[in-house]
C-alpha cells in the first residue's frame, strides 16, 4: 500500500524545467530517501507534495485520493530553509504552529510539553527564540514538524546544520516514528547521511528520476561480484594464484595486512576464491563489497550520460 503516489509530475519555471515527468511510489511505513545533487529538483517536488506550489502536469494521490488541502494536516514538513520568529516565546510559537496545523490549543499544549520534556528543552518554554542556541532551535523545529502526529513526514535536508549529537537524536527519533507506523521522506544531497536508515530511495538528477526502489533490491542489483579480502602473506604468490577466474581490482597495505578487492569471473563462487588463495596466504576476512548510494548514483548518472 502506497501512502503517496506521484504520477508523471512536470514543473516548469520561466526559464528552466524543475521536474520532468517524475513518478514515485512511497510505501506506507517506509523511510524514503529522495536523493540527488543540489538543484536536481528535490525541493520543487517536495513543495508540490506540500501543496505550496502546483504541478504543471501530472497528479498526486495521498492514501489513494487526489491530494487536497485537507491532507495538509496529515503531513509534517521540515523545510530546508527553516526558522522561527526570533522575538516570539518558544512555547507560544510552537503552540501557534500547532494550531495552524489544526490542533486544538489544549491538545497541542499537552503534546508539546511531552515533546519538550523528551528533548530536554522544557525549561526554555518561556524564553524567546533568539535566546536559544542553534541546536535547541533545531529541536524546536523538529518538534513542530512532528507534534501533530502526521501520517507522513517530509524532512528536507534534515541533518544540515545539526551537530553530530543532535543529528543522532533526530535519527533515533526518525527510526522511532517509523517503527510506530509513520511514513517518512528524507531529502538530501548528502547520500551517505541517510542511506543507513532508508528503506526505499529514489535518485533524482537534472529534474528526472533516474532510479528508485527498495534499498536492498537496488544494492543487490548494483553489486557486481566484488569482494574485499584481507590477508597476510606474499603478494606475488597471491597474484599468481588468482589466475584466470578472478580479477584483482586493487590492493593496499594496512599494517601487516593486505586488503585486496577481487571480482569473481566466469561464474566462480566465493568458495572457489577461498580454495584458490587459502594454500598461499593466511586469510583474515572476506566481505562482499556493498556499493554505497554515492557509488550507485555516480554509476547510474554516468551510464545515462553515455547513452
Amino acid at each position: 500500500m502506497d501512502i503517496l503516489k506521484v504520477q508523471r509530475i512536470t514543473k516548469t519555471y520561466a526559464n528552466h524545467t524543475a521536474l520532468k515527468s517524475v513518478s514515485l511510489s512511497i510505501p506506507k511505513g517506509s523511510i524514503f530517501g529522495l536523493l540527488g545533487p543540489n538543484g536536481a529538483g528535490k525541493t520543487s517536488l517536495i513543495r508540490i507534495i506540500n501543496q505550496i506550489t502546483g504541478p504543471d502536469k501530472g497528479k498526486i494521490t495521498f492514501n489513494g485520493k487526489a491530494l487536497a488541502p485537507e491532507h495538509i494536516e496529515k503531513i509534517g514538513y521540515l523545510p530546508e530553509e527553516r526558522g522561527l520568529y526570533k522575538k516570539m516565546k518558544v512555547g507560544e510559537q510552537a503552540l501557534y504552529l500547532a494550531t495552524l496545523k489544526g490542533m486544538s490549543k489544549k491538545e497541542a499544549k499537552a503534546k508539546l510539553k511531552e515533546w519538550f520534556e523528551r528533548f530536554d528543552i522544557l525549561p526554555w518554554w518561556d524564553k524567546k527564540v533568539e535566546e536559544l542556541s542553534k541546536g535547541m532551535a533545531q529541536k524546536v523545529q523538529f518538534i513542530t514538524t512532528v507534534m501533530h502526529e502526521p501520517e507522513f513526514i517530509i524532512l528536507d535536508e534534515p541533518f544540515s546544520g545539526f551537530d553530530p549529537i543532535n543529528a543522532n537524536l533526530i535519527k533515533e527519533e526518525i527510526l522511532r516514528l517509523a517503527e510506530a507506523g509513520t511514513t517518512i521522506m528524507l531529502s538530501t544531497h548528502n547520500m551517505s547521511s541517510v542511506e543507513e536508515i532508508c528503506t526505499h530511495i529514489a535518485l533524482i538528477n537534472k529534474s528526472k528520476k533516474v532510479l528508485d526502489g527498495p534499498v536492498d533490491k537496488i544494492r543487490t542489483e548494483f553489486k557486481d561480484g566484488v569482494y574485499e579480502l584481507v590477508f597476510q602473506g606474499d603478494m606475488l604468490s597471491f597474484t599468481n594464484a588468482l589466475w584466470t577466474n578472478f580479477e584483482l581490482i586493487s590492493n593496499s597495505k594496512k599494517g601487516q595486512d593486505t586488503v585486496a578487492k577481487i571480482r569473481l569471473l566466469n561464474d566462480s563462487t566465493v568458495n572457489d576464491l577461498l580454495k584458490t588463495v587459502l594454500p598461499v596466504v593466511e586469510v583474515k576476512s572476506i566481505n562482499e563489497v556493498i556499493p554505497s548510494m554515492n557509488d550507485i548514483f555516480i554509476k547510474v548518472v554516468e551510464k545515462k550520460a553515455k547513452k
Partner: protein, 452 residues
C-alpha cells in the same frame, strides 16, 4: 478561514502587547495636546528683552504749519514694555559698531518714511514674530498719527472710518452660513492622519513579511496555510492594530478634552486671561478683549469643533478610507517585502508607491484653497490618492447632487484594493520562496504570469 483568524490573532496580539504600542497609544493624545499647548505657550511666553536703537532720521523741525515740533518724528513716541526698550539717535551705527554694541535691534527710519513707509531692521539674532509685529505696529501708529495731522483728520473720525470687513459665505442651496473653508481644515487633519497611518502600518506589513522571509519561517507557515491567507492575515491583523490605536486615541482624547475643556473654554473666551496671556501688548490685548472680532474668531473655532463637523460621519468615512487605502497600499507593501531579501533592496520598489501617496497629500493641501478644482475631483476618485484627498472634500460636505462623487470614489477604492490585493498575492506567492536573487521589474512581471 479559521487559520486566517489564527494568523490575524498572532499579528494583532504580538503588536498590541509590545511596549512601544502601549506607550504610543497612551502618549499619542497627550503628546498631540502637549505639543499644541507648548506651541501656544512658546508663542505667548517669549520673555526675551529687546534693546532697540531707533535711528530716527526725520527732520527735527517740520516745515508744515500745523505740525510744528522741535524734535524728530519718532522721538520718545514708541511705547516701551517690559520686553521692549527703546533708545533714540539720529545717527545710524555701522553694522560693525552695532555688532559690538549693547543693542539687540537697530531700526533705521529714513527722513521720507511718512511718504515711503519702509524701514530697515538690523538684527544680531532674528527677533520673534511677535516682537517684529509689535515694532511694526508701533511705528505704523506714529506714522498714521502724523498723516492724520497732515491731512487734518480727527483721530476719532479716523477710527470711525477704519473698517474691518467680515465676509460670511452663505450656501445658495440651503441659505445657511458656510464654513467650508474652516471645515476643510478639519478634513485636512484627517487626511494627514490617513497619510500617516497608511505609511506607518504599510511599512509594518512590509517589515513583517521581510521578517518572515529572512527568518526562514515562511516555508514552515505556508506548508500549513495558503500564502494568500498568510498575507491577508498579516495585513488585516496590522489594520486592526491601527484601528485599535485610532479608536483609543479618539476615546483618550475625548476623555482628556472633556476633563480640560471646561477650563480651556473658560480661559479662551475670558477677556481677562486673554489679556494676561498677551502681557507684552497690553494695549492690543485690551483692544482684542473688547473687540468682537477676536471673540467671534474663538467662538467660530468652538462652533466648528462642536457643531459644524459631523463627527460620526467623519469618523465613519475616515475608517472606510483608512481601511480601503491601507488595504491597497499594505498589499503593495507586502509584495515588496516578499520580493526583496533585505531592507536596502526595498528602495527601488518603494518609490512608485510613495509617490502617489505623497502626491495625494499635496493635492489635498491644494484642495484647501480650491476645493472644486478638477484636479481635486479626479484625485479624489483615483484609488491611489482618494483616501487622502477625499477626506478634505468629505469634511466640506457635498451638495445633494454631488453625493454620487463620494459613492463612486468609495466603489473605485474597493475595486482598487481588490486589484492591489490580487496583484500583490501573485508577487507574494513567488517572492517569499525566492532567495538570493536580485529582483527587477521585469522579473516581477514574470511572476505575475506564473500559475498557482
Amino acid at each position: 478561514m479559521n487559520k486566517t483568524k489564527l494568523i490575524i490573532e498572532r499579528e494583532y496580539m504580538s503588536r498590541v502587547k509590545k511596549k512601544s504600542f502601549i506607550i504610543m497609544t497612551l502618549l499619542g493624545p497627550v503628546l498631540i495636546a502637549g505639543l499644541l499647548s507648548l506651541g501656544v505657550y512658546l508663542g505667548i511666553s517669549d520673555t526675551t528683552v529687546y534693546n532697540v536703537l531707533v535711528v530716527d532720521q526725520t527732520p527735527a523741525i517740520s516745515t508744515g504749519s500745523l505740525t510744528q515740533r522741535s524734535q524728530p518724528l519718532f522721538w520718545n513716541r514708541l511705547k516701551e514694555t517690559s520686553q521692549m526698550k527703546f533708545d533714540y539717535s539720529d545717527l545710524a551705527m555701522s553694522n560693525v559698531e552695532f555688532d559690538s554694541s549693547a543693542y539687540d535691534l537697530m531700526v533705521v527710519l529714513k527722513d521720507d518714511i511718512v511718504t515711503h513707509p519702509e524701514a530697515e531692521m538690523v538684527f544680531r539674532t532674528l527677533p520673534s514674530m511677535k516682537a517684529r509685529s509689535y515694532l511694526e505696529d508701533e511705528i505704523e501708529k506714529v506714522i498714521e498719527e502724523e498723516k492724520l495731522k497732515l491731512n487734518e483728520i480727527d483721530k476719532r473720525t479716523y477710527d470711525s472710518i477704519k473698517t474691518h470687513l467680515n465676509l460670511i459665505s452663505v450656501d445658495a442651496e440651503d441659505g445657511t452660513t458656510s464654513y467650508k473653508q474652516q471645515q476643510a481644515f478639519v478634513g485636512f487633519g484627517f487626511a494627514i492622519l490617513i497619510y500617516f497611518f497608511i505609511f506607518l502600518y504599510g511599512v509594518q506589513v512590509m517589515r513583517g513579511v521581510m521578517e518572515e522571509k529572512s527568518n526562514r519561517i515562511v516555508e514552515v507557515l505556508i506548508s500549513s496555510v495558503k500564502p494568500f491567507q498568510l498575507m491577508m492575515g498579516k495585513i488585516v491583523g496590522i489594520a486592526l492594530v491601527g484601528l485599535t490605536q485610532f479608536l483609543l486615541w479618539v476615546i483618550l482624547t475625548s476623555v482628556l478634552f472633556s476633563l480640560t475643556s471646561g477650563i480651556l473654554v473658560g480661559e479662551l473666551v475670558n477677556p481677562e486671561t486673554v489679556q494676561a496671556q498677551v502681557q507684552m501688548t497690553d494695549e492690543v490685548a485690551a483692544q482684542a478683549a473688547n473687540d468682537p472680532m477676536a471673540q467671534s474668531a474663538v467662538n467660530d473655532i468652538l462652533e466648528l469643533i462642536f457643531y459644524r463637523i459631523n463627527w460620526p460621519l467623519m469618523i465613519g468615512l475616515f475608517i472606510f478610507y483608512f481601511l480601503g487605502g491601507y488595504l491597497l497600499y499594505a498589499s503593495l507593501f507586502a509584495a515588496i517585502g516578499a520580493a526583496v531579501d533585505n531592507e536596502t533592496d526595498t528602495q527601488q520598489f518603494m518609490m512608485p508607491i510613495t509617490i502617489p501617496l505623497v502626491f495625494g497629500f499635496i493635492v489635498s493641501e491644494f484642495a484647501l484653497s480650491n476645493p472644486e478644482g478638477s484636479a481635486v475631483f479626479w484625485f479624489s476618485q483615483i484609488p491611489l490618492t482618494s483616501p487622502i484627498v477625499m477626506m478634505v472634500r468629505v469634511a466640506m460636505g457635498f451638495s445633494s447632487g454631488g453625493a454620487w462623487q463620494l459613492i463612486l470614489s468609495m466603489l473605485l477604492l474597493v475595486a482598487g484594493f481588490i486589484g492591489a490585493v490580487w496583484l500583490a498575492a501573485k508577487i507574494y506567492r513567488v517572492g517569499i520562496l525566492m532567495y538570493g536573487k536580485k529582483i527587477s521589474y521585469k522579473e516581477l512581471m514574470k511572476w505575475l504570469k506564473y500559475k498557482s
